[in-house]
Every structure is written in structure tokens, then in C-alpha cells.
Symmetry: C2
Subunit: 315 residues, 2 copies
Amino acid sequence: MYIPTLFDVDEAHARIKPHIHRTPVLTSRFINSLAGAELFFKCENLQKAGAFKARGASNAVFGLSDEQAAKGVATHSSGNHGTCLAYAAGRRGIPCTVVMPRTAPQAKKDAVRGYGAKVVECEPSTSSREAVFAEVVAATGAEFVHPYNDARVIAGQATCSKELIEQVTGLDAVIAPIGGGGMVSGTCLTLSNLAPHIKIYAAEPEQADDAYRSFKAGHIIADDAPVTVADGLKVPLKDLTWHFVRNHVTDILTASEAEIVDAMKLIWKRIKIVMEPSSAVPLATILKNKDLFAGKRIGVIITGGNVDLDKLPWQ
Amino acid sequence: MYIPTLFDVDEAHARIKPHIHRTPVLTSRFINSLAGAELFFKCENLQKAGAFKARGASNAVFGLSDEQAAKGVATHSSGNHGTCLAYAAGRRGIPCTVVMPRTAPQAKKDAVRGYGAKVVECEPSTSSREAVFAEVVAATGAEFVHPYNDARVIAGQATCSKELIEQVTGLDAVIAPIGGGGMVSGTCLTLSNLAPHIKIYAAEPEQADDAYRSFKAGHIIADDAPVTVADGLKVPLKDLTWHFVRNHVTDILTASEAEIVDAMKLIWKRIKIVMEPSSAVPLATILKNKDLFAGKRIGVIITGGNVDLDKLPWQ
């Protein structure tokens, strides 16, 4: 298992810069007053293809040799990694296949196809997803770019907090949602090297709290097909992301479905951005753990904005 | 009638800088491909209090003498100017009364009260609004800050396109929604002085096209209580805004209700921002007048983000 280093992050940032946005950091005085802390929202929902995963996917795609690239790339993804790999493959002009749960939002399937990639549907469970994916790779010979358990992907995601600490000085902590742990691992990779005094929190739905239970147990616990409105956070940790989570995360906090939806609506209303339920989990956990964050300067990663506008969770 | 000058704009920008955001400019490759043009969205929905009107309101409030300020400010407004005047008054710590139509979105009434200002309701017509407002001013002695027909307000709004031409080079045109004409007048004031080669377009709902008809007729035509989803654009031109519109606007374009809602949803989906229907009118008119804008670099003012999330127009 290759553990990516700060060198890989710097290389990734140089490689992907033409293909990603340096996303803005937004704030809300009203939300700060609710939280009793200063929150800095790093808006990866405004990233290319609508999610931070454009960073990792672009790093993987643009790092391929021409020979590898000609066979294309493939992945399985509950949504944003698929869209973002399709985006990156489209930028390089190479084939891309994405295995997606048939229950994934229509907007996400459309987005993958919109970038010119092929969608292959599977059942909404980790086991089905992996079985269908194996068939795809056997048929195409495509390079597998895992959504998160991949050193190239983690080095790419790590560029997000690298930008964040350039944009906001004096942060006490950074908090990001955790599903498979790609963003959290990238955050750990950057901050443990460049700003080890900044605490790293991960936020997870109570109804998909496998990372929380893994963290408390000291080994990976994986659930098959958990149910949560935060549909980007259903996947389990893997060995590489577990390495970062175990060694560098201060704590994992959880929130209920209702708390997640309330936080999502609050961000839409006050920050005026369209973001998906997964991205609301950090704020939901901040608002229920005010003592932990009181008076602190907190970076909050808004991970993505790919939501089905016809099926909003408060309606 | 005092016509504000570029000197007033520079003075306004220096005065309001501590109280406003320099809002980001966002782009979408997908929307560019639909439009056949390069569109640069100046995101005043991300402005303080959720609208560009924080600029004009702040300029008026912070330009008052202490003696005037002690009596407070008052206005009538279909929404954002009221919220923004409440915001600015709150920042200075002075009283503020806002006369609003009883049919205005609950979110806008809540926002005004949230900044500590008083809401007085009127009927949803220009005539009722002006009558109720006269009573308020007589009772309080407050300084009237008109939503748009006010040199201080127009000089404040003018700072938006001043920023825009610093942020984006080589613009061929700028397009903004037109209701009373405050933003369009500010745009005219800045661009006619600093970049007179940039064409200025105004965009208006077909169902509230009084500015369009005024422009074609050569004199102000005012409708009482037009009906449109773009609720920020129901008010008529007045003498000061008419001066700028008549002398500096290249053309006024209109869009149907369905075209406005489609453009709104497109921006939410692709730019990932929460903005109100009024802000979608420019894109709606661009998409139906592609020949006019083909291959051009166009600044598009997203004027505000104060929408009721429980009553979205596509639901």
C-alpha cells in the first residue's frame, strides 16, 4: 500500500490546476451567531463538475501514460466521483465507464452521460456494485480509479485544504463529511504536514455511521447499503483511507437525518448556495456540539452540489 | 434632480467597502455552450443580506450625518431593498422602518425583522405602498431612502459593475434585470464613464414590461401591480433611473414566465447558487436572443438570492 506524501499533493496541484477551480470560501454572520464560532465554508459545490472529486479524478486521469489513457478509465461511485471522473476523462478525451446504483439521483446519471461517459447500473449495495464493476473492467481493460482508496485520488483531494489554509489564516479545525474517507484523508495528508496544529474532524450521518464505529472500535467496520439522505456518504472506509483516519482524525461526529436536512436548508438560505445533503453533515454536527467549537475558527468543506432540484429533502 | 457622477461612485465604494462583499464571478461551460457565448455571472446573491441592494443602502446609511441618522431611515420595497436597508441600518445601529406588500415572501419579511428593523405591511400595489409609506415618514421623521430613484443608492449600485470590469477583462456587454432601474442605472453610470464601449442591456419579464415599453415609447410608462414570478421587478422607472436608461441602455429584452423559471433552474443546477427568479431574467433573454450575443463576452448580474425555499416556482 503506497501512502501518498506532500510531494504527491504538490505534484497533483500543479497537474490539475488547468482543470479545476480554486473555489471561494464563503461565510455567514447569521450562521456564525447560531454556532458561536467562525465558520469558513470552502465551496467545492462550485468546483468543476459540482464536487471536490474533480480534484482527485483529474489527478488520476491526467497522470496516466498515453498508452494507459487510450484504454480509458472506469469506476464505481454513488455519484460525484463518477461525474467527476467523466468530467476529467472528457477533458482528456479518453473513454470512461461509471457503474452507478440504479437508485442514484437522475441528475447524477445525466451529468455522467453529459460529459460523454457510459453509465452501467447496479443494485444499491456495495456487493452488487463491486460485482458489476469487475465485469466492466474485464471487458474494457480500463484503468480503475477507485472513488477514494487510491493514492492519486487522495493526493488530488488534498489540494482542497491546501487552498483553504492559504485562503483563511488561523484555523483551529477543519471538518469534512466522511463516507469512504477520500476528502478526510486528503485533509489529513495536507494538514498533518503543513499545519499539524489544526484539528481534523469528520462528520457522518447517524444512519450510516460505519466510520464512527470503526474509529471507536479501532478497525474497519463496513455496512452494506445503509439508508440516509446524505447519499454520498454510504460507502465504507478502505485500508488507505483508514490509515489517514486512524492516525490523524481528532474525532468523528454524527448527526440525525432531521439535523442534516435542517443544516442543508440553513446553508441554502443563508449562504445562497446549492449543495447536497452530504455537505450539510459537518454544519449539523457543529450545531449539536457547540461547546467543542465555541469561539474557534473552523474550516467547513462543502463537498458537492449535485442534488436533484425536483426532489429536495424538505418537501 | 442631482445626477450622480463617477466621483460619487468612488466615494461610495470607499464608504461601503467594510460593509459589503466583493462578490465572486462564476462561470459554467455548459451554460456557455447553450448560449454560444461566454457568460460571467457576477454573484450579488452572495452579497451581504443576499442582494446587490446592500451596496446602495449602505452608501445611503453611512453617508448620513449623525443627526439625520439618529432619526433613522425608512423605505418601501418589494423585498431586497428593505432587507438591505435593514442590514445597513443594523450595521450603523440606527432605527429602520420598511413598508412591504403583505404578499411579499415570508422569507423577506423575516429577513428584515432579523436585522432589527420594523415591517409595516401595505397592499401589493404601487399606490397603496406610497400612501402607507407617507404615514410612516410623517410619524418618525426618518430619512427616506428610495429603493432606486436616489443618487446615493445608484452610486452604491454602480460599485458592482466597477468590480465586475476589474474581475473580467474584455467584456462586450453587461446585462442586468430591470425593475425600477437602480442596478441598470448604476451599471450605466460606471460603464459610460470607465468602459463606454461595453454595451448595456436590461432584461425584463414580459408580464411586467413597463421599462421595455417606456424605452420604446421614449417616456416613462408605469403599471400598477403587474404579476410575475420575478417579484423584484414589479416597480416602475422614475425620473433619475429613466435618465440613465434613456441615455445609456442599448436595448431592453423580455422573457416569458416559463423562460424565466427554466433559466432559474438552469443556474441553480449548473452554477450551484441559490438565486431569485428576478436574477434569471437576463439569462432567459440571452438564451432567446442568441444571435445578438453569439461569441461575445457578457457580464450577467445575478442580483439577489432571497427566495422562499418552500415555494420554488418549478414545484
